[in-house]
C-alpha cells in the first residue's frame, strides 16, 4: 500500500464513518457524502494518472456529473425539509406533529 492509496482510502472511510455515526443535521450528512465523492474522484483520477491509462480519464468527469446529481437531489430535500419543518435537524423528522 502506497501513501497515496492509504490517504484516499482513509478519506473515504472517514467520510463513511461521519455519515454513519453523526446525524444531527441533514446538511452534515450531505457534506459527508460529498467528502466521500471527493475521495472517489481522487481515487479514479489517480488510477488514470498512475497507470497512464489515459482513456480512463473520462471516468472521474462522469463521476463528478453524477455526484452533482446526488448533491442537488439532497439539497432539494434539505430545502423542502427546512420549509415544512422549520429546521434541518434529523430528530425533528421523527415527530408526529410539528
Amino acid at each position: 500500500m502506497t501513501p497515496v492509496h492509504f490517504s484516499f482510502t482513509a478519506a473515504f472511510t472517514l467520510g463513511l464513518m461521519g455519515l454513519a455515526f453523526h446525524r444531527t443535521h441533514l446538511l452534515s450528512a450531505l457534506i459527508c457524502l460529498e467528502g466521500m465523492m471527493l475521495s472517489l474522484f481522487i481515487a479514479l483520477s489517480l488510477w488514470t494518472l498512475q497507470l497512464e491509462s489515459t482513456a480512463f480519464s473520462t471516468a472521474p468527469m462522469l463521476l463528478l456529473a453524477f455526484s452533482a446529481c446526488e448533491a442537488s437531489a439532497g439539497l432539494a430535500l434539505l430545502v423542502a425539509t427546512a420549509r415544512t419543518h422549520g429546521t434541518d435537524r434529523l430528530q425533528n423528522l421523527n415527530l408526529l406533529q410539528c
Binding site: 500500500m1 502506497t2 501513501p3 497515496v4 492509504f6 490517504s7 484516499f8 482513509a10 478519506a11 472517514l14 467520510g15 464513518m17 461521519g18 453523526h22 444531527t24 443535521h25 441533514l26 446538511l27 452534515s28 450531505l30 457534506i31 459527508c32 460529498e34 467528502g35 471527493l38 475521495s39 474522484f41 481522487i42 483520477s45 489517480l46 488514470t48 494518472l49 498512475q50 497512464e52 489515459t54 482513456a55 480512463f56 480519464s57 473520462t58 468527469m61 462522469l62 463528478l64 452533482a68 446529481c69 448533491a71 442537488s72 437531489a73 439539497l75 432539494a76 430545502v79 423542502a80 425539509t81 420549509r83 415544512t84 419543518h85 429546521t87 434541518d88 408526529l96 406533529q97 410539528c98
Partner: protein, 173 residues
Amino acid sequence: MTYLVSLFLLGLIFGLVAVASNPAPYFAALGLVIAAGAGCGVLVGHGGSFLSLVLFLIYLGGMLVVFAYSAALAAEPFPETWGDRSVLVYVLFYILGVMVVVGWFWGGWHEACWVAIDELKELVVLRGDVSGVALMYSSGGGLLMLCAWVLLLTLFVVLELTRGLNRGTVRAI
C-alpha cells in the same frame, strides 16, 4: 515534490477529519474546502493538471457555493466549532484511529516517491489527462448523452421536490 505531495495528502486526511467529526455545517463545509484544495494539489503532483482544474473550478466553484447557500438557509444561532468538547472528542478519536492504521502499515510502504504521468516519455504534445478527457466526445459519446439525460432528470426531480407547501413531496403532517 515528494514532501509537498505528502503535505497535501496530510491535508486531505485532516480535511476529512474536520468534516467527519460533526461540527456545525458551516465548519464542515470549510473542512470540505480544505480537503478539495489538498486533493487538487495531489492531482497536480501526479501530473493531472486538467483533472485538478476541473476539480477546483467545478467542485469548489459550483458545488460549494450551493452548499454555502444551504448552510445559510439552515443556520443556527450557536454553531459548534472543533474546539467544543463534543466535537473535539471525535476529532481526537478519528486522528488517533488514522494514526493506529498508519502504525499498522508502517514499514511496509511500497513506494514513497512517484513519477508524474508522461514524465518518462520523450516528447509529449498533449498531457495524458487532456487527451483522455477529449475522448469523451468521440468514443464515450453514449455515456455523455446518458450524463446529459441524468442531469435533465435531476432538474425535474429537484423541481418536483421543492414545488410548494401543499403539493410538494415532503410536507408537514
